[in-house]
């Protein structure tokens, strides 16, 4: 086990470094418009005494943008390994500070989404499996497929259109209303909750489909298994058969599905956050990437790669934990 873990961790680290190198190379193709902007500003500040081209060269040198891609990457990697990801060009703050300010909004949103998702999709998935080829099954299947087929930006916009523009019952975007600082603690929580309804609904609709199908497929497999027939033959009530015997076995593959959620849990929902302008990690990093904010973009992509590798390793371990029959390696 530990041998496997060490090997897996080493491999993960290697993949992360190589992946970061690829990302870095691509991102360096962006003309450093930030540098140019800053150089022009500084030049204007000096009443044009210093040419902005000279300043640009100096700035490029300071930010390590003048060397080759490889040397720049090595420099970045060295700092990153020490935990120093530099200052975000766009937000003018250390990247990690921006990150710690916004990450929890994303996580909060994802936790709520996870609850909603599980509460809706697992019962529906089980229902569909039990009533296979009945009307309920068809409805659930079509619903699940429709959820998968919907573009996230479209659900978000339609929700906004219906609830914020037409019915005017929910706030259009943002995380805080204008009275946020006037109301008490409960008022604040209520305000945020109100603002989170649509983003959470969007994310839930997006993820319900796949989880529902996943549950249904696994449930069907389990229901056809011999031990279920045995359980029925023993004369157990349908409730016990489903909840105790079938459902628990369904959980095995589901657990791995959940460990795959790790990246999206902390990585934020870029498009949904952007549509609703939720100041989470997805929205902030989208803005930063559009602006060519290299430190922030590098941090975010690396962070995502770490999460992905972690989730892969976690799912391997979880397999072994949940199902003792599975041997690691």
């Amino acid at each position: 086990m530990s041998k496997f873990l060490i090997r897996r961790l080493l491999l993960g680290a290697m993949i992360i470094i190589l992946g970061a190198l690829v990302t870095y190379s691509v991102i360096r193709c962006l003309p450093a418009s930030y540098m140019e902007k800053m150089a022009r500003q500084l030049s204007a500040g000096s009443q044009g005494r210093v040419k902005w081209q000279d300043l640009l060269a100096e700035l490029n040198h300071q930010y390590g943008m003048d060397g080759s891609i490889i040397s720049g990457f090595v420099r970045w990697l060295g700092q990153a390994l020490k935990g120093n990801f530099g200052d975000s060009w766009m937000y003018m703050k250390p990247v990690t500070k921006v990150f710690s300010e916004v990450i929890w909004w994303s996580v909060l949103m994802n936790i709520i989404t996870l609850f909603v998702e599980v509460l809706i999709s697992i019962p529906l998935g089980i229902l569909a499996a039990r009533k296979q080829y009945h009307a309920a099954d068809y409805i659930v299947t079509v619903f699940a497929l429709a959820c998968i087929s919907l573009p996230s930006f479209y659900i978000g916009t339609v929700l906004k259109y219906v609830f914020a523009v037409k019915l005017n019952v929910l706030p259009l975007y943002g995380l805080w209303g204008r009275n946020y600082f006037q109301v008490g603690t409960w008022g604040k929580i209520g305000d945020i909750a109100l603002h989170l309804i649509m983003p959470v609904a969007t994310l839930s609709i997006l993820s319900i489909g796949s989880l529902m199908r996943y549950t249904r497929t696994n449930m069907l497999e389990v229901l056809n298994a011999d031990y279920i027939r045995t359980a029925r033959a023993k004369g157990l009530s349908e409730k016990v058969v489903i909840n105790k015997h079938a459902f628990r076995n369904t959980l095995i593959p589901l657990v791995t599905a959940f460990s795959g959620l790790l990246p999206s849990f902390f990585g934020g929902a870029m498009i949904t956050e952007t549509i609703f302008q939720i100041p989470g990690i997805g929205y902030k990093s989208f803005q930063a990437m559009l602006q060519g904010d290299i430190p922030f973009a590098m941090f975010y992509t690396t962070f995502l790669m770490v999460l992905t590798q972690a989730s892969l390793i976690l799912s391997d371990i979880m397999y072994a934990v949940v199902d003792p029959r599975v041997r690691v390696n």
């Binding site: 691509v26 990437m289 992905t308």
Partner: protein
């Protein structure tokens, strides 16, 4: 009754029932043998959702790929609507400032104003007739003579003094007027020798003024010719025949035909015109009474030679190059042609090539030996205008006119021609000897608001009438001969005239109508048609990307699975690396890289396809590898290996067909997700760009709050199309999965 019928029924039933009974249960005829493909197909079409998916996709394909053929509109056609709204037409003003009409560069205006105080209408400074005011402007001496002493409309004539001679201290003449009279020069020299201090002396009744400085003496004599006239009046020529005729094609046709036929006179609508001049110097068309009307010049419009060149977008550019430019000696050609035309020849030879001349009523065509028209000669008309047009800028004419007005005369003579002056109370009309009205003199200034507006005489008259009668509206005949209503607004003494004008506005965000079933978008394009072209791009991207992914995935997955070992390990690490790169962040970064590099629309579409393919092939590679790994160990592969079939055949004939079903299922479902990804990119503004469209980039317009709130037809249909299409792919994918593998429940 029942018994007989029952028997009959039994008889009918009997043969059908008997037949299967004769067969055994495992009779070969009972078993319908279906090919595996047929089996899959049968299972597939039994699935209602899958059939629904197929129908959806068929409709989408017809809509996207055949729709544009039948659509009356093109991809990026913009629509405009005509709106009639009040627009500024002209401005009128009671003129209270003097106009100065004189030779160009007469530096008198400020001097005159100084001499008269401030020369404004209503000024209490009253001048008596023939009062002379001497004044100096820029070292030149002038005399101002008041023509019209009335308080309301004083008109002045300005006379200059001529610099007759300058004589230096040494008695030498340093400057002398060209036509100075000998006696005057002698008098000046005598005065200079005397060295008196008087600033003027008299010579034969002319007062000569002297300017004395330390180094020289300057002598000035009064000029008998006025240099400028100052007046409040504005003159409007009363005829516009030249410009009217210029837009009359029938008239032009008649003149052209006459010019081509070499005639010297032409009659049109009862008016006689005279043509003079020749081919080389151009023709002049005049009225029979001698008033010039048009200059006609022959315009060589060359036959064109096409040069194919390509612009940055790769579209061919057709550059027109004149026939003459292709010749080495164009002057020689022109000379030969002119000679032929003057000699009325039917053909001529130039550089050993025979050119034919063909004359039509209006044009002359010169045909090259190849049979192609080389040169077309047609007529260009430039109006000369009436001779009266020039009169209102002629200071002498104005002087004569103003003097007549001041004296209350009924007419005046100018350049030997008699003019009658009609007093209309507020203004005056000038008639020529023939009794035609030629000029309107009034103190109301006017001007058109924009270049395209030509103010008609009728407008000027009606405007002046309305201004004097303090009316707010009036109607007039405009330059196109249409009766037009105008309204007047007075701001700070300016009379702004506005008329209802038709303007063409971009018909953007228009609600659905029968012409535009889904309205128009923010660029004024038909949404229904845009969606067709958007569908083309969206579906095309889906298919190209999936084929690209399949290509990469099958090759790399296949090699990895078949060979295993080190190759497998290396390739799989490679796959993991690609898998680790975050998908959307990478797309966004690459999208903004392309934005920064200003990649063209078509190139961008290809780049997007390649990027989506490169970032997406790993899934297929894994599936292929896994499948091949398990197939490799199966008995039929061992058998294949044992028979000694070569490797490539083993892979492509035995392994790949077995992977095919899984690939088809995955590719179908993958198509949906690629379309979704592309749409998302389009929505974020990082996908295909104008003039191309994709469903995602059409929804992109919803980022404008106004579109979201007021124009649902722009973004709702595009989203529904994406949803329905992806749903269709998912239905079909699911159906295929079930059909290929009945054991695996959906």
């Amino acid at each position: 009754m029942s018994k007989n019928k029952q028997e009959e029924l039994n008889k009918q039933k009997a043969p059908q029932e008997q037949e299967p009974e004769q067969m055994k249960l495992d009779d070969a005829r009972r078993v319908k043998v279906l090919s595996p493909g047929m089996l899959v197909f049968k299972r597939f079409i039994r699935n209602k959702l899958a059939v629904a998916g197929i129908i959806i996709l068929a409709v989408m394909f017809v809509y996207s790929f055949l729709g544009p053929i039948f659509s009356p509109y093109t991809r990026a056609q913009m629509f405009f609507k005509e709106v009639t709204e009040p627009g500024k037409y002209a401005t009128g003003k009671f003129n209270t400032d003097s106009r100065f009409i004189g030779e160009a560069g007469t530096p008198v205006q400020s001097g005159v104003l100084k001499a008269l105080g401030t020369q404004k209408k209503g000024n209490k400074y009253v001048l008596t007739q023939d009062q002379e005011i001497p004044f100096t402007a820029r070292n030149e001496h002038y005399t101002l003579k008041v023509i019209n002493p009335s308080e309301t409309a004083p008109a002045c004539a300005i006379y200059g003094t001529s610099h007759a001679a300058t004589i230096g201290r040494d008695g030498k003449i340093t400057h002398q007027m060209d036509n100075i009279d000998e006696g005057l020069l002698a008098a000046i020299q005598a005065d200079a020798e005397a060295g008196g201090k008087e600033t003027e002396f008299d010579y034969n009744g002319t007062t000569v003024s002297v300017e004395i400085s330390k180094i020289e003496r300057k002598y000035y004599v009064p000029s008998t010719e006025s240099v400028a006239v100052s007046t409040y009046n504005i003159y409007t020529p009363i005829q516009g025949k030249a410009s009217e005729l210029q837009s009359d094609t029938e008239f032009l046709h008649a003149v052209s035909a006459a010019v081509m036929a070499g005639e010297t006179a032409v009659s049109y609508n009862g008016t006689d015109f005279v043509i003079s001049g020749d081919v080389e110097n151009g023709f002049v068309l005049s009225y029979a009474n001698g008033a010039g009307l048009f200059n006609i010049s022959r315009d060589y419009r060359y036959g064109t030679v096409n040069v194919e060149s390509v612009d940055a977008e790769g579209n061919p550019v057709t550059e027109e190059k004149g026939f003459l430019e292709t010749l080495t000696d164009p002057e020689g050609f022109t000379a030969a042609l002119t000679e032929a035309l003057n000699g009325d020849a039917a053909s001529f030879t130039f550089e050993e090539a025979e050119y034919t001349i063909e004359k039509t009523d209006v044009e002359i065509h010169v045909i090259a030996p190849t049979g192609e028209p080389a040169v077309v000669i047609s007529n260009n008309f430039v109006p000369v205008g009436s001779k009266y047009d020039a009169l209102n800028a002629d200071k002498d004419f104005v002087f004569a006119l103003e003097t007549a007005i001041a004296n209350g005369d009924a007419g005046f003579e100018f350049n030997g021609e008699q003019f009658a002056l009609v007093d209309n109370g507020d203004d005056y009309t000038v008639q020529n000897a023939a009794g035609e009205e030629i000029l309107l003199a009034s103190d109301i200034a006017y001007g058109a608001e924009s270049k395209g507006i030509e103010l008609t005489l009728d407008f000027v008259k009606k405007l002046q009438e309305a201004m004097r009668n303090k009316e707010n509206t009036f109607s007039f005949v405009d330059q196109h001969g249409e009766e037009t209503e105008a309204s007047i607004q007075i701001v700070n003494g300016n009379y702004y005239v506005s008329t209802m004008q038709k303007t063409s506005l971009l018909d953007f965000r228009a609600a659905p109508t029968s012409a535009h079933p889904l309205g128009t978008d923010v660029n004024g394009m038909d949404v229904f048609t845009r969606l067709m072209y958007g569908g083309r791009v969206s579906l095309l991207v889906g298919f190209v990307v999936i084929f690209f992914e399949l290509f990469l995935g099958v090759i790399i997955g296949g090699i990895s699975g078949y060979f295993g070992g080190v190759v497998d390990t290396i390739l799989m690490r490679f796959v993991e690396l690609f898998n680790a790169i975050p998908f959307y962040p990478m797309l966004i970064i690459l999208g903004s890289v392309m934005d920064n590099m200003h990649v063209g629309a078509t190139q961008r579409l290809f780049m997007t396809m390649v990027i989506l393919g490169i970032l997406g092939w790993t899934g297929i590679a894994r599936i292929v590898r896994g499948q091949i790994l398990s197939l490799r160990e199966q008995d039929f592969m061992v058998a294949a290996e044992a028979t000694g079939i070569r490797t490539s055949r083993r892979i492509f004939r035995h392994l790949i067909p077995n992977v095919m079903p899984l690939l088809i299922v995955n590719a179908t479902a993958g198509l949906g997700s690629v379309i979704l990804t592309e749409a998302t990119l389009g929505f974020l503004g990082l996908g295909v760009k104008y003039p191309m469209a994709s469903w995602g980039s059409i929804i992109n317009q919803v980022n404008d709050m106004q579109v979201m709130q007021t124009a649902w037809w722009i973004w709702i249909p595009a989203g529904l199309l994406i949803l329905v299409t992806v749903l269709g792919f998912n239905f079909v994918g699911d159906g295929l999965r079930d059909a290929f593998d009945p054991k695996m429940k959906r």
